[in-house]
């Protein structure tokens, strides 16, 4: 074979994008397909914790070691996606001492830097911790932006020649003579960037090898290929607060349980989570009690959460897997380890491997292992370089200068833009044009929005995950329409309108889980702005049947019923003074 082999990676989450990057860097010809946006599945629905490994230091030390190792790697190669907040494992009076000691020892055994803090010391770091806490263990947990990380991996893969196809759903796995020879996909709006209103198409992509990296959906791809992949999807809720009540990751130091972590994330905090097995990763109940549980239980640790404003909740599904015959009943007992299922070895079906299980923090390591495996199939022994080569945006992270003067941006906006963009800041922000703020809650400017549109087409949800626009307090009430405005004139009016409607609905979907107090007021205000002031719900352009314009008031001196619309005298330029003029 002279040509590089063609590998199709199915799944545009962190693992799939990581694999695509790794293989492309090793010189393979890679195509990645994803049925939604990048991060559409589990990656976009996690709490953004960069594990120190402390969480697994008692229950699963192998995972804990991997976590601390990858934690260090990601700080290096993905600096613009990581905020090293530090983390605390906090002990409440009824949390067992034994476990606290085991946790501390476990951390030390796994090489995780860990330090015991008194209650006073812990509260010095996190003033909002409950008054009755006993003590805490400090570990190097952090926060990571899964969207930015995933997109950076895809961008890097592209730079190395990979083809990245979001909105391409696999509808079949192609088999010939008992071998996987490719896949068939349905492009939501044709191949390439997604453009609303563009008709879809199907495409058969032939490949020498297929990697199934669809996580909780791996069973569905397996089924198309006639093999069984018994993933056990387990749902977890995450509730987003409108501010950072804590600046450090706060974990409850007890064996296991729901609602035991608060992760500071950008301008918010994310409360997590539950762990409940579900039948179908696409269809499971999102329930009120889960949201209440987050607030009620975590406010035992951080009491202010009880009164704080939540802005939305979302659910993710873990792609848990355990080898057949293990027989674990409680999903919280299922290992977080990952498994590489070579279907040739396992099912006598050459040409495809599935990767299941695992966790976000170790996505790169998983990608490395599976890329090694793929290369082995082709007899290629190129070494993995993903642990050493920074991701796009993190090449030179010394760019955190004060951009206020340089881009005419107010200081905090400039700083936040540069933090998000990392070393891409110059490239994105230096447009030579005025760069007004589009999303005020998250301080996102026009240049960033346009850069994201350049990457992802008219899909405003893809713009959102790249920029954070519409993800703040107002949940898009003040900026969804502004984002849609930026699509024009590259995309026409109906396309911009459809993209706006889609984003507005998506924002509403998660906000309904936070509709009380301040956020209910906000929802009502958003509704009033979009329905009352803009009349987007009664838009004649979106309705059947034409409006009889002649039946409406045409101005003073014009009889509404005669259909004549003569010149109005309503605005005679007489410079009349306004009543109550000061």
């Amino acid at each position: 074979m002279t040509d590089t082999p063609h590998v199709v990676v199915v799944g545009g989450g962190s693992t799939g994008c990581g694999i695509a990057r790794d293989l492309a860097m090793r010189g393979l010809d890679v195509t990645l397909v994803e049925r939604g946006n990048l991060t559409h599945g589990t990656t976009g629905r996690m709490h953004g914790l960069l594990h120190s490994g402390g969480r697994y230091a008692v229950s699963d030390q192998a995972s804990a070691r991997e976590c601390i190792e990858e934690n260090r790697v990601l700080r290096d190669i993905a600096a613009h996606c990581v905020e090293m907040t530090g983390g605390l494992f906090v002990q409440k009076p009824d949390d067992p001492d034994d476990y606290f000691d085991e946790k501390l020892e476990g951390c030390r055994e796994c090489g995780i830097p860990a330090e015991v803090l008194t209650a006073e010391e812990a509260r010095e770091i996190e003033p909002y911790l409950a008054k009755d806490i006993k003590r805490a263990i400090k570990v190097p947990d952090g926060a990571i932006d899964p969207f930015r990380l995933c997109v950076a991996n895809a961008a890097s893969a592209q730079e190395y020649g990979a083809r990245i196809e979001p909105h391409a759903e696999v509808v079949d796995v192609l088999l010939e003579d008992g071998e996987v020879v490719g896949i068939e996909v349905e492009h939501a709006s044709g191949p390439g960037k997604r453009v609303h209103r563009t008709p879809g198409s199907t495409e058969k992509i032939r490949a020498d090898y297929v990697v199934n990296a669809t996580g909780a959906w791996a069973g569905q791809i397996g089924e198309m290929a006639g093999v069984e992949v018994a993933v056990r999807p387990s749902k977890g809720v995450m509730t987003i607060m409108n501010t950072r009540q804590v600046d450090t990751v706060v974990n409850r130091c007890r064996p296991k349980g729901d609602a035991d972590i608060v992760v500071p994330h950008e301008t918010t905090c994310i409360l997590g989570t539950t762990d409940e097995e579900v039948e179908d990763p696409d269809d499971y109940p999102e329930e009120q009690w889960e949201v209440d549980l987050m607030i009620d239980t975590l406010s035992e640790l951080v009491p202010i959460l009880k009164e704080a404003r939540t802005i939305r909740s979302f659910w993710g599904v873990r792609p848990l897997y355990e080898p057949p015959g293990t027989g674990t009943t409680d999903p919280t007992d299922i290992t977080r380890d990952f498994f590489l299922l070579d279907h040739e070895e396992r099912d006598d079906l050459p040409g495809m491997t599935s990767i299941v299980g695992g966790k976000f923090t170790t996505y790169r390591m998983m990608a490395e292992k599976i890329s090694d495996h793929v290369c082995e199939q082709f007899g290629i022994d190129t070494a993995c370089r993903t642990a050493d080569e920074p991701l796009p945006g993190s090449e030179d992270f010394s760019v955190l200068r004060d951009y206020m003067d340089e881009f005419g941006l107010r200081s905090p906006i400039g700083r936040r833009s540069v933090q998000r963009l990392g070393s891409r800041a110059d490239e994105v922000l230096k447009t030579g044009e005025p760069n007004p703020v589009v999303c005020e809650c998250e301080a996102v400017t026009r240049a960033e929005i346009r850069d994201a549109i350049e990457q992802s087409g008219s899909d405003l949800n893809a713009v959102r995950i790249r920029t954070r626009a519409s993800m703040g307090n107002c949940q898009g009430g003040f900026c969804c329409h502004r984002m849609a405005n930026e699509l024009y004139p590259q995309y026409d009016e109906p396309t911009a309108r459809e993209a706006l409607d889609e984003l507005f609905q998506e924002r509403w979907k998660g906000e309904v889980h936070a509709l009380w107090g301040e956020q209910l007021s906000q929802a009502m205000l958003n509704y009033a702005l979009h329905a009352t002031t803009m009349n987007r719900d009664g838009d004649p352009a979106a309705m059947d049947g034409a409006v009889d314009f002649a039946a409406f008031d045409g101005g003073v001196g014009v009889d509404a019923s005669d259909g004549e619309t003569g010149r109005s005298d309503a605005t005679a330029a007489d410079g009349g003074t306004r009543r109550g003029e000061r």
Binding site: I295, R507, M534, A560
Partner: protein, 424 residues
């Protein structure tokens, strides 16, 4: 010496102002207590009466549709005459700064979302923009203003089927404002007609703006701008632009801060002044005193000191969910001052529809009133003999979907104020 008036109105928005004016007209001494800035700064300044009854529309005649509304709708309780009386009072207050009183028909006004919407009264500043007027239109936007892309708005208007030619143009404002200058910055520059550099000379901001627009006119008969054409001197700004351009000029109402809303607030406050209504602003009403079923006073929190404000009659016009006249927590919805009855489903997952523009129960949250706007308890009996409500704090209508919010404020405000005044 205790603070005492005949009628005390809680809330300084459209409903509270109209209630206070109505009570004063009836001869009562009136005090208006308002806490925060009114939600008028979020509002379009358009006075919608009814555009989409029961989801149908837009209807050209709001009065024809009244009989189809449910019995507990504020309009059904207040009655058609109250709507007309409310509009009459509004017309009196706003004098010649609003239009629409010449006909019962709704006007269709272009919105910054690119649609048109039915409304009963519109600021004079918006009058030349009506969608039933066949004159050709140019819509102007400013590149740094992210809320509004004039080309997109004009294409959207075309898609809505408007009976005129419309074009859009995005311009650079003829002065070097910072990239994220607020609409207030534009408005102030035009208000003061600031001298700025334009085409190598120093000219007033109004002339400079007109000169920038001129090459784009190409024979159109009217020009629409986002609503930033001045604040205190808006009429003058518009007139100057019209004389420079030789065509009619109009504003398209925008989101917050909304100049049409703020100008309306000024007009209302001026009218309250003229009517001798006493105003106490900046402090919240937090509690009340009652003797049996008779309210004696409300308590205003002034620097953590509770000051009683006595009156014979009280009108609650503190707003709905946006104005915080209605509040909620995870388990219930409440009216925070008098703990008045607010019907709502007990499960908060029944407060909303899953469609963003669906039929939202939360949009109808509010207190229950009778046909004299007396606040009722859960047994349909008056909670207090002398407590009435007006505006968004009254439940039973989705004003956003119906395009009826302002009309409801006027109708309920008139009834509550008039009845309160008459009871003295």
């Amino acid at each position: 010496m205790p603070i005492r008036d005949d009628v005390l109105v809680v809330g300084g928005g459209l409903a509270g102002s109209i209630a206070a004016l109505s009570a004063a007209e009836a001869g009562a001494s009136v005090r208006l207590v308002s806490y925060k800035k009114s939600t008028l700064r979020f509002a379009s300044g358009l006075i919608d009466v009814l555009g989409y009854p029961n989801g149908d529309g837009p209807v050209s005649n709001p009065y024809d549709a009244l009989s189809s509304l449910p019995d507990d709708h504020p309009y059904s309780l207040a009655g058609e005459q109250a709507i007309r009386d409310g509009l009459d009072l509004f017309d009196e207050v706003t004098a010649d700064s609003y239009r629409g009183s010449h006909t019962d028909a709704n006007a269709l006004v272009p919105t910054y979302g690119g649609t048109v919407k039915p409304t009963a009264r519109y600021p004079e500043a918006s009058a030349a923009g009506l969608a039933s007027d066949a004159r050709s239109m140019l819509v102007v936007g400013f590149r740094s203003l992210t809320d509004f892309d004039a080309r997109l708005v004009s294409e959207h208007l075309e898609a809505a089927g408007v009976p005129f030619e419309v074009r859009g143009a995005e311009l650079s404002f003829p002065e070097e404002f910072r990239a994220d200058a607020k609409v207030t910055r534009f408005a102030n520059a035009l208000d003061r007609d600031e001298e700025i550099r334009f085409a190598g000379r120093s000219v007033g901001a109004r002339e400079a703006l007109a000169e920038t627009v001129k090459p784009r006119l190409k024979g159109v008969e009217r020009v629409g701008f986002p609503s930033l054409l001045g604040d205190e001197h808006a009429d003058e700004v518009r007139a100057d632009l019209e004389s420079h351009l030789g065509v009619d000029v109009f504003e398209i109402p925008m989101g917050p801060p909304s100049f049409p809303g703020l100008r309306l607030e000024d007009a209302l406050f001026a009218a309250l002044d003229d009517a001798g209504v006493r105003m106490s602003t900046g402090n919240p009403v937090v509690d009340y005193e009652a003797d049996g079923d008779e309210l004696q006073a409300v308590h205003v929190d002034q620097k953590r000191r509770k000051v009683p404000y006595h009156a014979d009659e009280f009108v609650l016009a503190a707003g709905g969910l946006v104005g915080k006249g209605i509040d909620s927590n995870r388990s219930r919805v409440r009216e925070p001052i008098f703990e008045s009855y607010v019907p709502h489903p007990s499960d908060r997952y029944d407060w909303f529809d899953t469609d963003a523009f669906g039929d939202h129960p939360f949009a109808r949250f509010g207190v229950v009133v009778d046909d004299e706007m007396r606040v009722l308890d859960r047994n349909d009996a008056p909670q207090f003999a002398n407590l009435r409500a007006a505006g968004a704090v009254v439940g039973g209508a989705d004003g956003a979907a119906e395009k009826s919010s302002s009309g409801i404020s006027l109708a309920t405000g008139v009834v509550a104020g008039r009845e309160a005044g008459a009871s003295i």
